[in-house]
Symmetry: C2
């Protein structure tokens, strides 16, 4: 049901997710499910919670922006999983959940006594989902991994950077969020089936494995050439006909560039581009007319385009080129995106009011449901929902929870 | 239900998806749904089909590897949407579908007469999903976009590359596959609700908007520093304590590097690393002991690590470091990944037998369901399922389809 604000809070209404994840790969997965309306209950240690609360901390005593970004729309409860009572309670919660998600280091969840076999015993219909660094059965299955390790071992870095320079790690956290999104898809597939059959399922995704999914164009290039895919700077690792790349704009800052691309599928792009840059004289010139001819004359082509782009700022260049039907885009930085009113107007960025961090404008779930992305709710404070969840899921009352707090269990 | 091979073909069994997508952003979305067991019927023009069939073509007359990678497990039918009968048939198919997905250029689907309002009229319960380059309501909503344009305008490029050099476009196709994955999540959320309520829904994702989702760590860095996030080569745009980066290995080729990272959350990583590189003498030395101290001495630290890494090849370095509990990963290229038997053994890469292209080992859906990724089936030939789908969905017989072929409709 769309709610009064046209948001999609109801897609997964009634779905209960027990969330034992931290940092980003797991939290990005469960946050997507929370944005679609699931009740996501984050289980954290009572002392300091998800270590992500302390990353990129802006002010002492506050949760980090990083935590706010990856834990919106969730609930938080605290449980000491090393105490027998804490373990008992988390197991009881798991028996009431539809989905259990974790991304601890290899072997940790089993050492806690919360492995798949243990949880399945109390809840045969559970969807049990795990993020690993390296997949079970891989020579590295016991190794630790973080985003950058996955990007190195999963091929992303080998195809990112300039051809004659070392690999770079893209700023996008593909190893984390990229993996989390694939797991979310499988969780949702399993939930769909479970709604009909009640059947549970075990899901596992490894960060290294997930990276291959995002560089399949490079695997296509390799299959065509017989050679490993290369780094191509701002150009296309997969080839493609010139022009395709970034061109310098005024005033010449670090991100003052416009990307221009002319599709092979549409030869008119090249002609329109020649018109825009005032080189109509070259329309039909065989030196430049076909994609193949332009490959041979790429440096000249890049230079004649740059003569034009240097006279414009990147936004102006993008407007002029776009209006002429040529695929073009300014290289925008996070500051420009943060301050562009279009994102807020369309609900793609939303401002939350966090109880201790104050107002924060952050990217929301970017898919619009009935015209609007789901409404972002601030990430929970540590243990904010102890009474709520332990009450609603397990029937404990306020005094019970007080007692647990006294014993150091919550 | 898991089938005999332990695969997940059944998660979305019975779900019918009418797929009017081409190239990658749309096809990657519907392929994920096909891998989870939905019946995905790709509607293509009878002449040449999805233009992606002709990208990166390896041999004349064959579908491209690119097409094979993004259209596995789907069916293909041909329909001339510019003929009245073709339009009638696609509308009838839409009336039988659960989900309709398209990623044509802005306005094209409406000009065909297949916009949301038209489809909703014949199927009020339809989940109607669209990929745009720029979102409805954006100043650029009518502009064309491709993967690289989205990566430029969505912030990805501004945080990818070296700090003192121009931005690069990561080899990962975040603008396409990255967007497709987010749409798949929303489609699945909508399907889950629809199973209970029968309710349809309109979904839209813009490639530019989707990019923000993948660089949220950079938005966190910006919130903490007050400045736009920067490019940091192979290091972390978000900061983080040294060592974190790539280190050169023998024999010194383009991808002969190992990524080494020491987590702030675990100070033992640094001590273990000093032991591995034979510098136990520095354990406890205040010049290097804390993250903050290491920031001040980063060049020295990088050099002392490089002295060790240069003596090893990247795989050996990864093994030694990993065994010592230090997060580390070799920079692997697509050739090394393609030839690593572990991926095939675990079902992460699977070899298909394509009727005209022959055998092709390709990345599969990387999430394991009950231990195994879903089985990859070869992408369809153009119109391969005309009889099958027009029969099963619309009750046409072989002669009907023959007639349509004669009239140029299929």
């Amino acid at each position: 049901m769309l709610d009064a604000h046209g948001t999609a809070t109801g897609c997964l209404a009634g779905v209960r997710i027990l969330d034992l994840t931290q940092f980003e790969a797991g939290p990005s997965c469960t946050e997507a499910l929370a944005w679609l309306g699931a009740e996501v209950v984050k289980v954290e240690n009572p002392k300091s919670g998800d270590p992500g609360r302390g990353s990129f901390r802006s002010k002492p005593g506050q949760d980090s922006w990083y935590f706010l970004l990856f834990n919106a729309n969730k609930k938080s409860i605290t449980l000491n999983l090393k105490s027998p009572r804490g373990l008992e309670l988390v197991t009881e919660l798991a028996s009431k959940a539809d989905v259990f998600v974790e991304n601890f280091a290899p072997g940790a969840i089993e050492r806690l006594g919360l492995g798949y076999d243990a949880i399945r015993k109390v809840n045969p219909g559970i969807i049990y989902a795990q993020v690993k660094g390296f997949g079970t059965g891989s020579p590295y299955e016991n190794n630790l991994a973080f985003d950058m390790i996955a990007q190195a071992c999963g091929g992303i870095m080998s195809v990112s950077g300039e051809s004659d320079r070392p690999p770079v790690k893209p700023g996008a956290t593909l190893g984390d969020t990229g993996t989390g999104m694939l797991l979310a898809i499988s969780v949702l597939g399993a939930l769909y089936r479970r709604k009909g059959t009640g059947q549970g399922e075990r899901l596992e995704v490894a960060m290294q494995d997930a990276m291959l999914h995002y560089i399949r164009v490079c695997f296509a290039a390799q299959a065509a050439t017989g050679k490993p895919a290369v780094r191509a700077g701002a150009k296309l690792a997969s080839g493609g006909n010139p022009p395709a790349g970034i061109y310098p704009c005024k005033p010449g800052g670090a991100n003052d560039y416009v990307y221009i691309y002319t599709s092979r599928a549409n030869p008119a792009h090249w002609h329109h581009l020649l018109e825009v840059i005032g080189r109509q004289d070259l329309i039909g010139n065989p030196q430049y007319e076909t994609g193949l001819a332009r490959v041979e004359h790429e440096p000249e082509i890049d230079e004649m385009i740059s003569v034009w782009t240097r006279r414009h700022d990147k936004n102006e260049a993008m407007r002029i080129l776009g209006a002429a039907g040529i695929p073009a885009g300014a290289v925008l930085d996070t500051g420009e995106l943060q301050n562009d009113p279009s994102f807020e107007q369309r609900g793609i960025m939303q401002t939350i009011e966090h109880r201790t961090c104050g107002p924060f404008k952050m990217p929301a779930w970017p898919v619009r449901h009935g015209g609007t992305p789901p409404t972002v709710k601030p990430a929970p404070l540590l243990g904010e929902h102890n009474d709520d969840v332990l009450g609603a899921w397990l029937g404990l009352n306020e005094d019970d929870v007080k007692g647990l707090r006294k014993e150091g269990v919550v």
